[in-house]
């Protein structure tokens, strides 16, 4: 590891390329957060590899002064898997968007998570296709008017975190583009997790889907529309922190209750990030009836794909020894011609 790691600053992680997102794009805030976080990760700069697909978010690697690969639409998890397989010592990040990761690349996202490849996947979810000029995306709400859905979309959106949990991701979190204080520690935790980590970042597109997350971002109203989950803490929210989430033990569904009104503190669900059941329920919560859950929804470490493969290889080499090609060619039935 580079000795000077602890002396690096934001500037060391900024490339010389001019950032070319639209003015006001949430991606700027995410970029700044990641660049500021980098020195804290205590890792040599050359060890970070940012891999992206196609879309606005996927321009991200160009602006990081690390190794980076801007690949093709939807395939970043596959390219990143190859990077990790080739060199397990690298810290591999995947920067993707809702269309990239969940539409054209849905299959790869699912399998990278299922395999538990040690990748840090950051999905910038703006619920729209930006780079192709505003078509609705697989996370767009029903009724989204766009050039390809002039009367409003009729198909139902999917929830990125629910998909990640369904695919078996051992680390699933949700955060917000412009809230560095929330986003930075969440991403740091995802980085420290060994194995696949998945962070959905709610990201505003000021051009094609402006204000779509205003309820959870606007400081005046957000407390009533989002809940910041923390392991071991009761699931409370609201301007006066007097609303809570309770599990209805008959229907096995969550319900919003008010402290002192229809529930006591003891009845409020305590967040357990190791519970897949709870994570699934929290990931599915959405407005207007429920607050949107942000924070680490699920975290349950499991052995990672590439290290398991390496272990297999080590075991095999112990019994078989290092491969000798000439011996391999001469193996089996051979015969001499004189």
């Amino acid at each position: 590891m580079n000795q000077a790691v602890d002396k690096l600053t934001v500037a060391d992680y900024s490339s010389d390329q001019e950032v070319r997102w639209c003015p006001g794009c949430g991606d700027y805030a995410i970029l700044k957060t990641i660049q500021k976080l980098m020195p804290e990760l205590n890792q040599a700069k050359e060890n970070h590899v940012f891999v992206s697909g196609i879309g606005c978010s996927s321009r991200f690697p160009y602006y990081m002064n690390t190794y980076g690969f801007h690949t093709i639409h939807g395939r970043a998890p596959s390219v990143a898997t190859g990077v990790k397989l080739a060199n397990p010592d690298l810290d591999v990040w995947v920067i993707t968007g809702d269309g990239d990761a969940l539409s054209i690349g849905g299959n790869h996202t699912m399998h990278a998570l299922r395999r538990n490849v040690d990748l840090n996947i950051l999905l910038f979810n703006n619920e729209i296709y930006g780079l192709t000029k505003g078509q609705y995306s697989p996370t767009s709400k029903v009724g989204t008017r766009s050039p390809s859905t002039p009367e409003g979309s009729v198909d139902r959106p999917l929830s990125p975190c629910a998909i990640a949990l369904g695919a078996g991701a051992p680390f699933v979190a949700r955060s917000i583009d412009t809230e560095m204080k929330h986003l930075s520690p969440v991403v740091k935790e995802s980085y420290l997790h060994k194995g696949a980590s998945f962070v959905e970042i709610l990201q505003n597109c000021p051009i094609y889907n402006d204000g779509i997350f205003e309820q959870v971002k606007d400081k005046k109203i957000a407390p009533d529309f989002r809940i910041e989950v923390e392991h071991g803490q009761p699931l409370l929210f609201g301007k006066d922190n007097n609303k809570g989430i309770r599990l209805n033990r008959e229907s096995l569904e969550l319900e919003v209750v008010t402290l002192g009104d229809d529930a006591s503190l003891e009845e409020i669900l305590v967040h357990d990030k190791t519970s897949i059941t709870q994570a699934n329920l929290l990931a599915a919560m959405q407005g207007p009836d429920f607050p949107v859950a942000v924070g680490i929804l699920y975290h349950r470490p499991a052995s990672a794909y590439v290290s398991d493969l390496e272990q297999q290889r080590l075991t095999l080499r112990e019994s078989r020894g290092e491969g000798k090609l000439q011996d391999l060619l001469n193996s089996g039935h051979i015969w001499q011609v004189k």
């Binding site: 060890n47 190794y67 596959s78 190859g82 690298l90 299959n107 090609l325 015969w335």
Partner: protein, 625 residues
């Protein structure tokens, strides 16, 4: 099958003792569940150990277990062996082993008149005859009078031979193939020891099964020795071939390709990541490499073809050599990513084990119809080198070449094989790996003056700087890059320059590959027969035979298809006519015509079967008439 050999076989029917033959074709045919491939591969091994030159062709159905007795469930294994150099699996069959009526009806037309047909009478019951659409039993109604027929109730023979092991009726009958193999070993005067050893190894954990199979093998052999056989059925003597001295083994195309890739990785001093998705007939390569983790090769079964090629590209970015493999339909899915590798100038080896197309086509049959896809099947101006193996053993060297070119020129290389090459096997003079010159990869480590667009002035290859190297942090991608800095550039002149550079880099490889040689014959004359890939064998034999008849014809086999060897154009210009046999509707011929403006003619076949030698000799004679 040569005219000469046909005559010898005909004469053989009058000889009571034994008959010497230069070469012979044997075809084992039965139900998919009858174990014909195992029978064939055991016979191949014995034949190779004896010292014959040989070539084999497994011909099996796409269905894993088709209904018993059905014609579409027939699985066959053909072996051509002899005392001369053998480069095809043979045109016509001298000895057909038919384990049931379906096997007989689907394979009889391949047998020469006077050829020997060995049939298991025990399987020619009414039910099986109906399934094969026979109105009457061909073993009894005289319809096989043109052949020498050896009818044996192998069913009862086997049941008697393995009775003592009390396996039960069904398991006992599974030994049919070994009984038959025993008989065929007797027929060609071959030893049983190797097969017995193989059976002991294969069924090591089930000694009863091993012993039953061995008993069946011995019984079949003994039957040949002792039974009163019809006139004309006797022991064949096929003398050893005169081949170069050295150590030999049998190798199929899949093995040779896998080992060639490992060898290439060692010569390049680089780790391999082989990423692929299962597809017939290419999956064998994944299996072969997955079993070799003691070498510096990692295998990755991806979720789909696209993920496989992308993982390979990611590995190349990270400093390994990424390799992906598929058949035509899978290659089609990979093409966008292959273009990324061209644009990002990363090394990549793409193996296409071609099969009959289009779409699902004929998954288990062979074809060469992806050449145009290899040349042109991508978006944008996307040149890449294309090389093809000509035979199972040739895969070893071709794989090494693919690795060399990919790493030296920072480019994807398309390596074309096909279903025939992958499954067929031939004896291989085992090379000494020390005879191959190493071509170690040099990674950039010096930060001084580095940018990711730096090129080697000679090869035009882009610099390779792998993540983890301090001071070389850089970004690459599929967007057009500045020739000077490697940063994104939409500049019109730069795009022209980059397109020209990519083109020139690949074109320049023609100076780094061997000159085109003539495989057989003169380097000028009346007719050049030009081939690529697995048509090597039949073309070679056809040209050889025509030359023995005094015809002015040469065989040119093109291994390096893109770019062509620098002298190919001039070489072809020295022939009055050019004939291009291909297992497609005319793909190389189109390229030769458009590149060289010559009046090359195609000889085309897309039946899922390799060319027969006589199909090519006929075409040569027609051209020279």
């Amino acid at each position: 099958m040569s005219v000469e050999t046909q005559e010898t076989v005909a004469k053989a029917s009058h000889s009571p003792e034994s008959q010497a033959l230069e070469d012979v074709v044997v075809r084992f045919a039965g139900d998919s569940g009858d174990g014909m491939q195992l029978t064939g591969s055991n016979f191949t091994e014995v034949t190779a150990l004896f010292g014959n030159d040989l070539a084999t062709f497994p011909d099996f159905p796409a269905e894993i277990r088709a209904p018993a007795g059905s014609t579409f469930g027939v699985s066959a294994f053909q072996i051509y062996f002899g005392s001369e150099d053998i480069t095809t699996s043979g045109d016509a069959v001298d000895v057909l082993v038919a384990m049931n009526p379906a096997a007989l009806t689907t394979n009889l037309e391949t047998v020469v008149p006077g050829g020997l047909v060995i049939a298991d009478a025990g399987a020619f019951n009414e039910k099986n005859l109906n399934k094969a659409n026979y109105d009457s039993n061909p073993l009894e109604d005289g319809s096989l009078d043109a052949y020498r027929l050896l009818t044996i109730d192998i069913h009862s023979q086997v049941l008697a031979a393995v009775e003592e092991f009390e396996l039960g009726h069904k398991a006992a009958l599974r030994c049919k193939n070994m009984w038959t193999l025993g008989l065929v070993l007797w027929l060609f005067d071959r030893e049983k020891a190797t097969t017995i050893e193989n059976l002991q190894k294969k069924f090591a954990s089930k000694p009863d099964i091993a012993n039953a199979n061995i008993a069946a093998l011995n019984a079949g052999h003994a039957y040949g020795e002792t039974a009163e056989l019809p006139t004309g059925v006797n022991v064949y003597k096929v003398p050893k071939a005169k081949v170069a001295p050295g150590t030999y083994r049998n190798v199929n195309g899949t093995q040779a390709l896998a080992w060639g890739l490992i060898a290439g990785g060692q010569l390049a001093d680089i780790n391999l990541l082989f990423a692929s998705y299962p597809i017939t007939p290419a999956s064998g390569l994944l299996h072969a490499l997955a079993a070799r983790k003691e070498f510096d090769v990692t295998t990755f079964q991806a979720e789909d073809e696209i993920a496989a090629v992308c993982a390979a590209i990611g590995a190349s970015f990270a400093g390994s050599l990424g390799i992906t493999s598929s058949a035509g339909p899978g290659i089609a899915l990979k093409t966008e990513a292959i273009s990324l590798a061209v644009s990002a100038e990363l090394p990549l080896v793409v193996v296409n084990t071609q099969r009959g197309g289009p779409s699902t086509g004929l998954p288990t049959k062979t074809e060469q119809s992806d050449l145009l896809q290899a040349f042109y099947g991508r978006h944008g101006d996307t040149p890449l080198p294309v090389i093809a193996s000509s035979s199972p053993a040739d895969c070893f060297e071709v794989a090494i070449e693919a690795v060399r070119i990919a790493t030296k020129y920072m480019t994807p290389v398309m390596l074309l094989s096909d279903g025939y090459i992958a499954n067929a096997s031939e004896p291989w003079l085992i090379p000494d790996i020390k005879d191959f010159a190493p071509f170690p990869v040099e990674f950039r480590t010096d930060p001084e003056g580095f940018n990711p667009s730096l090129r080697d002035p000679q090869s035009l290859a882009r610099v390779w700087a792998k993540p983890g190297t301090p001071g070389l942090e850089h970004r690459i991608g599929g967007i057009e890059k500045s020739y000077e800095t490697g940063n994104i550039s939409y500049d019109p002149d730069n795009h022209q320059l980059m397109t020209d550079t990519r083109e020139a880099k690949v074109a320049g490889i023609s100076a780094d590959i061997p000159e085109q040689e003539v495989a057989l014959g003169e380097s000028k004359g009346k007719l050049a027969v030009v081939g690529w890939g697995s048509t090597f064998g039949p073309i070679h034999q056809a040209v050889k035979r025509c030359r023995l008849e005094g015809l002015d014809v040469s065989h040119i086999h093109v291994r390096y298809l893109s770019p062509f060897p620098a002298n190919l154009k001039a070489l072809l210009a020295d022939f009055d006519k050019v004939l291009v046999p291909e297992m497609n509707t005319g793909q190389l011929v189109k390229i030769l015509r458009s590149e060289f403006l010559i009046d090359a003619k195609g000889l085309n076949k897309v039946s899922g079967q390799p060319f027969k030698i006589r199909e090519i000799t006929n075409a040569i004679k027609a051209e020279l008439a």
